[in-house]
Amino acid sequence: MTLHTHIRTALGAFAILLAVAFVSPAAAQAPTTVNPTASSVKEEQLLQELNKITGRCTLPNQTACTIEQPAGRDWREFHQVTLRWIAAISIIGVLALLVIFYLTRGMVRLESGRSGRTIVRFNALERMVHWMTATCFIILAFSGLNITFGKILLLPIMSPEAFTAISQWGKYFHNYLSFPFTIGTIMIFLMWIGGNIPNKVDVEWVKRGGGIVGHDHPPAERFNGGQKMIYWIVVIGGAAVAISGYILMFPFYGTTVSGVQLAQIVHGIVAALFIAAMLGHIYIGTIGMEGAFEAMGSGEVDVNWAKEHHKLWLEEEMGKGNSRAKAQPAE
């Protein structure tokens, strides 16, 4: 190896060193963007995955740890639009049907007239439970409808302060009367479950239109097919509004905000349909049928009424020979 090549090698190595020494810092100085939160969660991604954003917060109120839940907008749509349509159509619809029915069919008369003899249909306890539940139901229904329809129907005709006062009292009644209502519903369930199991007699009863449409009187036990329907509407509907209602009254004991939204949706829909069904019940128990109100009024019905509407029950009662049927002086 010559000296010349040695110098050339040394120079070459020096040149490489220089290149490394100068080029590298030059590259580092070029504007780069280091994003320290590049790996962090993104809002869009969280909302797509869970439709809500929850983290850790240092507050005792842990529901405050959810900072975004766009599902609130869906619930708003339900509360402002869907529920109003469901409630309005079912309640006004049933009212309209009842008016039409009353105008065409009129009151279902006692075809054989009054016998003057009565038979006990509901004892004092049964009537007390019925009226306790019914009174609560009516107040709950009006105060509930006020929450959904009040600001459309009542607020325009009164001052905001007066409307708030009504709604505030409505809320208190709604919350506190839920307890006797629930107790009443449970008692109704227990008291009348025996007579309300659907059977073959009800199939026949329903096939013959329950005697409502024509002038037929299909035989029925203590409770006919229609009454059994009302019973199960009260028991199942009552349970649904009670459970969903208590979730709303005691929020966040085991439910998140989405659980509360769901509870309100169930509560609203079931309550609206419940009110519609009860309108039918109130109709048939008052102006819809002669002699029917007495069953829950005095508790005693005319024997002829029982013969026409609850033949099998009357036969059973008479067969017992427990002289529950007593003579009333003829007028």
Binding site: S39, E68, R73, T164
Partner: protein, 198 residues
């Protein structure tokens, strides 16, 4: 007229809770109620992120829509306020709110869930006067004095911005352009139906 908004630059929030403390102290917010809170997502894990959230003063506010007694109103500055004299404490605004802003004293105590309380954007209540009675109900009306919300003023990293939506969006965009990254304005799409490119 300005359209008041909040913007939390989540890349800057360090979870110091100064905004929470400033708010609680300024308005003497009762124990158990937090008009603003800081939440840390994926806390302690790689990629954790903290966000400060309060009422976003939504466009077409869901709380106002669902309120059964119409106690909400939107000011000329776009601030969503409510009247505690009209509120019946039903809880519906909480169900509808996308940000969990409405809070209630004595939550869960049936029948007596108190009047709803939420961030007022430091704009007080229906009556703009800073009287003792108004202060007890809603807190200070700083906006009426020409001041911005104290949470944003106190933010140690200037992560939380409060003020006219166009101005704070511009500040945020400049930041993103300068530093080269940003995770977007948290909650804006839900609250205002608009986004700022991150």
């Amino acid at each position: 007229m300005a359209r008041m908004k909040f913007l939390c630059d989540a890349d800057r929030c360090i979870e110091c809770n100064a905004c929470v403390t400033a708010c609680k102290n300024e308005h003497e917010v009762p124990w158990g109620i937090n008009r603003r809170r800081v939440v840390t997502i994926n806390d302690g894990q790689p990629g954790e992120r903290s966000v400060s959230m309060a009422c976003m003063h939504c466009t077409d506010a869901p709380c106002a829509a669902v309120c059964p007694v119409n106690c909400f109103f939107t000011t000329a500055d776009g601030v969503v306020l409510h009247s505690k004299d009209l509120c019946i404490g039903c809880g519906y605004c909480f169900y509808a709110c996308p940000f969990g802003a409405p809070q209630y004293p004595r939550v869960g105590n049936f029948g007596s869930r108190g009047k709803m309380d939420k961030c007022t954007f430091c704009a007080g209540g229906p009556d703009p006067e800073n009287t003792q009675a108004n202060y007890a109900q809603y807190g200070t009306n700083r906006l009426g004095e020409g001041k911005l919300p104290l949470c944003a003023e106190m933010c140690s990293t200037k992560s939380l911005l409060a003020g006219d939506g166009d101005i704070i969006a511009k500040i945020y965009k400049e930041r993103v352009a300068k530093r080269g990254y940003g995770s977007g304005a948290w909650g804006w799409k839900t609250a205002y139906r608009e986004t700022i490119a991150g």
